[in-house]
């Protein structure tokens, strides 16, 4: 399987992803699944600036990602798939049965959210959605960097 990490991260492409995970996984492509970024050339240029030249970035809408996941999984290279929030993860998992595991890597504080872990803040609705994903068979854990422990869903949501 060449998508080594399915990750929710509200910063999308940043140091923890490119360096923290990208280096040990030897990742050479990142799939950024975000309908808003997919429709903005300027936002795409911005995110391209954040990665070294040997890493390809693929921008996809949720629908495109659901359709192309089998292709990316058959890729000989190692990749990381990023979504910006729980709603996008739920939407993707609802359109594709290939989302089997989910790394909650960074959901930061906003009004209405409470701290569940240092890097995970959730509303009650978001907690419920993560539990629904788990009930549907997705292995949901929280882990900001590879050297940290993968925290099981039951411990944070």
């Amino acid at each position: 399987m060449s998508i080594a990490l399915f990750r929710i991260d509200d910063r999308l492409i940043h140091g923890q992803v490119v360096v923290g995970w990208g280096q040990p996984l030897d990742c050479t492509f990142i799939v950024l699944v975000d309908d808003e970024v997919r429709s903005s050339d300027w936002e795409q240029d911005l995110y391209r600036m954040g990665v070294p030249p040997h890493i390809e970035i693929i921008f996809a809408s949720v629908d495109e990602a659901a359709e192309r996941l089998p292709v990316w999984e058959a890729d000989a290279r190692v990749g990381i798939l990023l979504v910006p929030d729980i709603d996008t993860a739920v939407a993707l998992a609802g359109r594709s049965d290939r989302v089997k595991r989910l790394n909650v890597g960074g959901i930061h504080h906003r009004a209405g959210r409470t701290e569940r872990l240092r890097f995970v803040y959730l509303t009650d609705d978001e907690r419920a959605k993560l539990r629904q994903l788990a009930a549907a068979g997705v292995d949901v854990t929280a882990q900001d960097v590879p050297t940290a422990r993968a925290v099981p869903l039951a411990e944070f949501a």
Binding site: R11, I13, H14, V18, M49, G106, H109, R110
Partner: protein
């Protein structure tokens, strides 16, 4: 230019605050630099920190890495505001030069700072 440029250091963790402290200790100039950390921020929250730090005056944003959330949000901010320039690879040498040369445009200050920072990187004889 009526008011000297402000410098905003945008970094991971506490690098920005440490650089401000070091510049103050060395140059004795206070208030020229404002630290911003991305600690605990999503993109919206970091954008708000940048807005508060830069205020309404011309500024140079000094970013730690040439990629990642500090850079993407700094460029996003610069695109939405006039008189903002962005420099990556912040180091102490460029900041020390900047605080003494703030009566220029942000773009000119950014070019000068980048030159000063680059000149400080060298391999010395053993």
């Amino acid at each position: 230019m009526s008011e000297p440029l402000r410098g905003v250091i945008v970094s991971h963790s506490a690098i920005a605050q440490a650089l401000v402290s070091a510049v103050t200790a060395i140059a004795g100039i206070e208030g020229a630099l404002v630290p911003v950390s991305n600690e605990g921020c999503d993109n919206d929250a970091l954008g708000e920190r940048l807005r508060q730090a830069a205020g309404s005056q011309p500024a140079v944003l000094f970013v730690d890495l040439p990629g990642g959330s500090c850079l993407t949000n700094s460029i996003r901010y610069a695109k939405q505001h006039a008189d903002i320039a962005v420099v990556t690879g912040v180091n102490l040498a460029m900041l020390l030069d900047f605080v003494f040369h703030r009566d220029v445009t942000p773009a000119e200050a950014a070019r000068r700072a980048a030159d000063a920072g680059a000149k400080a990187i060298r391999v010395t004889a053993a």
